[in-house]
């Protein structure tokens, strides 16, 4: 029992128990990065190594120790010296000792357990040997085989057996083989038929003799019935398959009316059938059984995990591509496929619902939140929610909101986390491929891992509160320049970003190139030169010095290079979020800009 005080043992136990008892298949998704030490080692190496040769050397022993698992600590223990020895014998010439898996083992000290015997076990009660004391003992294979044979024997007793090779025994009855005269009616029928066909020999059709078979009659009674459109899935029927593994599943049909949907459809399907084929087969059976309930195509449906009381669980549906043998469920629910965001996030800040919308209820909540946010803006009156449109009259505004309500979906989906692949423009002309993640809580910029040439930069995460505005500053045929404005306060935002101080009298580009020189510039960029992007020499930077008294908020921006479509998507999404939040930063930003524009115009007029 000493093991219970061993945290590592407990960790390992929990893990193994999860893996061995999970029949959802989820553990595979969750534990993709199963071999943590190796995972970390590789990650670390790719991040730090600069020469290929070194990496190759490091990988070779790593491959050798592939079967190691962190949980089977004994193995790791015995295997790890090998890579170390190998590396050292190679004499890599590096001053630092090369890293190895042992440095990353998640459960160090696991093997220090007091009980030596337990080390060989798998740390899971589900995988251990059954002792015969007190525990239920599985019947041996022989016992099961014997029972099977017994059943077969009893079955065979009911089957009459005939020896194929037995002696020929001539029939006793004399009339056993009795010659019959071929039915004269048929004969006559043939005669009349031939004469009638002769009569109209030019005709390619055989005459109707007036005979009618039972089949013709039955077919006539059931006129061209609608062929079951899922007929192609009928072949996955597992009933009475010989030599093929089958699976019996009770499937609740979510689309059926009330009484029926509480009773599962019992199906028997081939184990080799993929989930999508199981769905097809369920549809096939359902169509046969409930012809009055029209079904859509198989793509519309998904199989969800279910308790046997037909309550659907909030897990994602079973993967269409997996064979059904992989899952051990006795009960499933066939339902319309629910929309699934790329990443499901749990929202800790509850003011906006950013959870994936799994039910109609959530959608309603979301819609309400959106409406509330809009009303909020309305009540705030003067809040300009589109750049510089503050002078629109109330009527226009209402219409505008109505229009926006029409793009309901856009509103609803805005806070859902989405990622985009685009390039960030760093120091005027360097471009990196990054992933921009936008959600109702934050935006994230993460440099692509496959960017080999440039050193990996830290990802940046900015809370949505610091995001001021998003705009497309340049639209071309295929390309667009997207700009996201952020509050640049030294305390709140990450220090890795270069800032374009609005209060400084100097033009923005200079500031950018100046501070952008430091290596810690992260994924930030600096604004572009006015020559390159003329619009950037905005009155904004130019005039900012004039009203730095009004505000102490400094703004900086990221520039992204992407196609127009993506740019518009991000622009809409982000501005939608900002509008719904009616953020102060944004208001401040837009007001500043407006003032600047006014003043610039005033200046122009003065010049004129």
């Amino acid at each position: 029992m000493a093991t219970y005080s061993n945290q590592h043992w407990l960790l390992s136990h929990i893990r193994n128990s999860f893996v061995s008892t999970d029949d959802t298949g989820m553990c595979e998704t969750v534990m993709l990065s199963d071999d943590m030490p190796k995972h970390f080692l590789r990650k670390f190496q790719t991040a730090t190594t600069t020469t290929d040769s070194y990496r190759r050397k490091a990988l070779a022993p790593q491959r050798k120790s592939l079967p190691n698992r962190p949980t089977t600590s004994k193995n790791t223990d015995t295997a790890t010296p090998t890579p170390l020895a190998l590396l050292q014998s190679m004499g890599t010439g590096h001053s630092d000792p090369p890293l190895q898996e042992a440095d990353f083992v998640c459960y160090p000290g696991l093997d220090l357990s007091d009980d030596e015997d337990l080390d060989t076990s798998t740390h899971s009660f589900d995988i251990q040997m059954y002792s015969e004391v007190g525990a239920h003992r599985f019947r041996s294979n022989t016992a099961q085989k014997l029972e099977k044979l017994d059943i077969a024997k009893r079955k065979a007793a009911r089957i009459k057996s005939v020896n194929y090779n037995e002696e020929v025994l001539l029939p006793e009855r004399k009339d056993f083989f009795k010659r019959k005269t071929v039915a004269p009616k048929q004969y006559r029928g043939e005669q009349t038929a031939s004469t009638s066909t002769k009569k109209k020999s030019s005709d390619d059709e055989l005459s109707d003799e007036g005979v009618r078979s039972k089949l013709s009659e039955q077919l006539a009674k059931s006129p061209k019935q609608v062929q079951n459109k899922f007929i192609e899935y009928a072949r996955f029927d597992g009933t009475s398959q010989v030599g093929m593994q089958t699976k019996r599943i009770n499937v609740y049909l979510n689309m059926l009316p009330e009484p029926d949907r509480n009773y599962p459809l019992k199906i028997c399907v081939l184990s080799t059938a993929k989930i999508i084929e199981v769905i097809g087969f369920v549809c096939f059976k359902a169509t046969n059984q409930y012809p009055e309930v029209p079904l859509k195509s198989v793509r519309h449906y998904a199989l969800y995990m279910t308790e046997d009381n037909d309550d659907m669980e909030d897990f994602p549906p079973l993967d269409n591509r997996e064979p059904c043998s992989k899952f051990g469920f006795s009960h499933l629910t066939l339902a319309e496929r629910r929309p699934l965001p790329p990443v499901t996030r749990v929202d800790y800040h509850s003011n906006l619902v950013t959870k994936s919308m799994t039910s109609e209820e959530d959608k309603v909540n979301m819609a309400e939140a959106a409406v509330r946010a809009l009303q909020n803006i309305d009540l705030n009156g003067g809040v300009a929610d589109t750049g510089g449109s503050g002078n629109g009259n109330a009527h226009d505004k209402v219409r505008e909101y109505e229009e926006r309500m029409l793009s309901h979906n856009e509103m609803l989906e805005a806070p859902i986390y989405r990622t985009y692949r685009l390039s960030i423009i760093d120091k005027r002309f360097f471009k990196y491929d990054v992933t921009l993640g936008v959600s109702g809580e934050r935006i994230e910029i993460d440099q692509h891992k496959n960017t080999k040439f440039w050193p990996q930069k830290k990802s940046v995460s900015t809370p949505i509160e610091s995001v001021a505005h998003c705009e497309i500053v340049e639209r071309r045929q295929l390309k667009a320049l997207l700009r996201i404005w952020l509050k640049s306060s030294s305390s709140s935002t990450s220090s890795t970003c270069t800032s374009a101080p609005l209060t400084a009298g100097i033009p923005v580009p200079h500031a950018g190139s100046g501070s952008g020189g430091s290596g810690s510039a992260g994924t930030a960029h600096s604004p572009n030169s006015p020559g390159h992007y003329p619009q950037h020499a905005s009155p904004f930077g130019f005039l900012s010095g004039l009203h730095h008294h009004h505000s102490h908020i400094r703004f900086k921006h990221y520039d992204f290079d992407t196609d127009l479509h993506t740019a518009e998507q991000i622009n809409n999404k982000l501005n939608c979020i900002l509008k719904m939040r009616s953020s102060d930063i944004r208001r401040e930003f837009l007001q500043q800009r407006e003032r600047k524009q006014e003043k610039q115009q005033a200046k122009k007029q003065l010049k004129l």
């Binding site: 079955k155 065979a156 009911r158 089957i159 009459k160 057996s161 005939v162 020896n163 194929y164 090779n165 037995e166 002696e167 020929v168 025994l169 001539l170 029939p171 056993f176 083989f177 009795k178 010659r179 019959k180 005269t181 071929v182 039915a183 048929q186 029928g189 043939e190 038929a193 031939s194 066909t197 002769k198 390619d204 059709e205 055989l206 003799e209 005979v211 009618r212 078979s213 039972k214 089949l215 013709s216 009659e217 039955q218 077919l219 059931s222 061209k224 019935q225 062929q227 007929i231 192609e232 009928a234 072949r235 029927d237 009933t239 009475s240 398959q241 010989v242 030599g243 093929m244 081939l270």
Partner: protein, 315 residues
């Protein structure tokens, strides 16, 4: 299952070791029976009283009860060697014949319990096909070495013909009116003989009538329609061809492209045709329009045999 009385049943069997029973007019599968794990289904036939279904395959012959819900056979033949290629019943159900690759055609007394063998004919080559004459005492046979036989089951009297050398006879058929006998081979040729019953109650007299180059490939089955006005040949070329017995010209061609058409069955009024093909689907064709009216889907592999027993309702 009173279903057998009320509804018409189509039975199919194939390479997936199962026999399926279908409601003929809807295409719904009524039940599935396991055949032998090691064998395909070579041929199916129902007893004239329609209560039992006989199936044969590699080293097995089995009879299933269609009226019970049980899917296990009621009669099983032990000690069968090689493939059993055909079986069929005498019209009263008194006896059953089986043809096998053990060179023999056997007659089984089905009245006695258990059934026992009452006659044997040795073809001296694996027998691919056998068919009962409507007079119920003569059996036509086709062997792998190209021989076509006609045997009077009461005696040892028989006739042997070899229409084509180096060809294997795949199927034989006798028209229900007793006028013609057809034998189809693996070269795609179909030979027709006219049959004339002898006045002395002896073996029918065979007269070669004609040769049809029916298909470019293997012929798998040939069958006459119940009204004897049509002959159907099915082939590995993916077609089933219907020939008018009047002059043996082609009347219709049904196509299941890229698949072998293994077996066929007519409706009693000769207006419908079931086909079994290697795509695992049985089809019901309306001959007049050549249109497939029903599909029977559910087999996971090729369907190699089917059986359908229809009846005439009224004129």
């Amino acid at each position: 299952m009173e279903a057998t009385e009320e509804q018409l049943i189509l039975a199919t069997g194939g390479y997936d070791h199962t026999i399926k029973v279908w409601q003929a007019h809807t295409g719904n599968c009524i039940k599935t029976m396991r055949f032998v794990d090691t064998s395909q289904v070579n041929a199916l036939d129902r007893t004239p009283d329609k209560t039992r279904l006989a199936a044969c395959g590699y080293q097995c012959i089995r009879l299933y009860d269609l009226e019970s819900n049980s899917t296990t056979p009621v009669i099983n033949f032990d000690g069968v060697q090689k493939n059993v290629t055909r079986l069929g019943f005498q019209e009263d159900g008194n006896w059953m014949f089986t043809a096998g690759e053990d060179h023999r055609v056997r007659i089984w007394d089905m009245i006695s319990a258990p059934p026992h063998c009452s006659r044997v004919f040795d073809c001296q080559a694996p027998v691919n096909a056998a068919c009962l004459h409507p007079n119920q005492v003569e059996i036509a046979m086709g062997s792998q070495n190209g021989g076509v036989y006609l045997w009077d089951v009461k005696s040892v009297a028989h006739e042997q013909l070899i229409p084509e050398m180096d060809a294997s006879i795949q199927d034989v058929a006798i028209s229900p009116d007793g006028h013609y006998m057809a034998a189809a081979n693996n070269k795609g040729n179909c030979y027709i003989w006219s049959l004339n019953s002898s006045p002395s109650q002896q073996l029918s007299i065979l007269k070669p009538k004609m040769k049809i180059s029916a298909h470019s490939r293997y012929i798998l089955r040939c069958k006459f329609s119940p009204d004897s006005r049509l002959l159907v040949t099915t082939s590995g070329d993916g077609t089933a061809c219907l020939w008018k017995t009047e002059d043996f010209t082609k009347w219709r061609e049904l196509s299941v492209e890229n698949y072998w058409v293994w077996d066929v069955a007519f409706s009693a009024d000769s207006k419908w045709l079931f086909t079994a093909s290697s795509d695992g689907v049985a089809r019901l064709w309306k001959l007049q329009t050549k249109s497939p009216e029903r599909k029977y889907t559910g087999h996971t592999k090729a369907i190699t045999a089917l059986s359908f027993k229809d009846e005439i309702v009224a004129d």
